[in-house]
């Protein structure tokens, strides 16, 4: 998975609790992305980062925040988890030069009860 790890790989949590998912890369790629994947919706972009401390919203950013304090780490926080945020979350990275191809992590399966 191109030097990308996600943690945790599985998590069960309760409605209303904060949750943080971590994406770690060893490729020194500039761009990092968080997606969620749900049946019938495909992959949808939550937030992305184009450099340290530079982030922007994707199409489904409500209820999520991100931080990138180091090149290698991109954190996704669910401020107050809801059942609608039950999903599989994927992190992806891409280089600044070729830019277009994205390399995905193994995913985090999150269940909000």
């Amino acid at each position: 998975d191109a030097g990308i790890t996600q943690s945790p790989r599985h998590k069960v949590t309760e409605t209303g609790t904060p949750v943080t998912l971590r994406c770690h890369q060893t490729e020194n790629h500039r761009y990092m992305y968080w997606y969620r994947q749900d049946p019938g919706h495909g992959l949808r972009l939550i937030h992305y980062s184009y450099g340290v401390k530079d982030t922007d919203k994707g199409e489904v950013s409500d209820g999520y925040s991100v931080s990138r304090s180091k090149t290698e780490d991109f954190l996704l926080t669910l401020e107050s988890a809801t059942s609608s945020q039950t999903s599989v979350y994927f992190c992806a990275i891409s280089e600044s030069q070729s830019g277009e191809t994205q390399y995905f992590g193994p995913g985090t399966r999150l269940l909000v009860l």
């Binding site: 495909g42 992959l43 972009l45 994205q102 995905f104």
Partner: protein, 112 residues
């Protein structure tokens, strides 16, 4: 809003035949289209990229076309094998490092 659509029905195909998948886009003029493969429980893996000024791209048994008039990309797997069974995702983008918009994916099942 921009939309990328793939056939949501699974494609069942006999080993050795050619599988053809369709990706249509609306309200969008992508600079490139990409195809990814996703196996159950795993992240997508990049297969091919085709730019708007290219009509066709090949990689081993894979071929992808890009028709800007029809607003469509076709993805072909020739001489399909059971190991090709997976979900295939189409994605469209505008510029390097920019956001990709994904289709919902088409599941392919190759029967021996």
């Amino acid at each position: 809003s921009q939309k990328i659509e793939q056939n949501s029905e699974a494609l069942n195909i006999q080993e050795g035949k050619t599988a053809t998948l369709t990706c249509n886009y609306t309200n969008y003029s992508p600079a490139y289209l990409q195809w990814y493969r996703q196996d159950p429980g795993r992240g997508p893996v990049f297969l091919l990229l085709i730019r708007e000024n290219e009509k066709e791209k090949r990689k081993e048994r894979l071929k992808v076309t890009f028709d800007t008039t029809l607003k469509q990309s076709l993805f072909h797997i020739t001489a399909s094998q059971p190991a090709d069974s997976a979900t295939y995702l189409c994605a469209a983008g505008k510029a390097a490092g920019n956001k990709l918009t994904f289709g919902g994916g088409t599941r392919v099942l190759v029967k021996p």
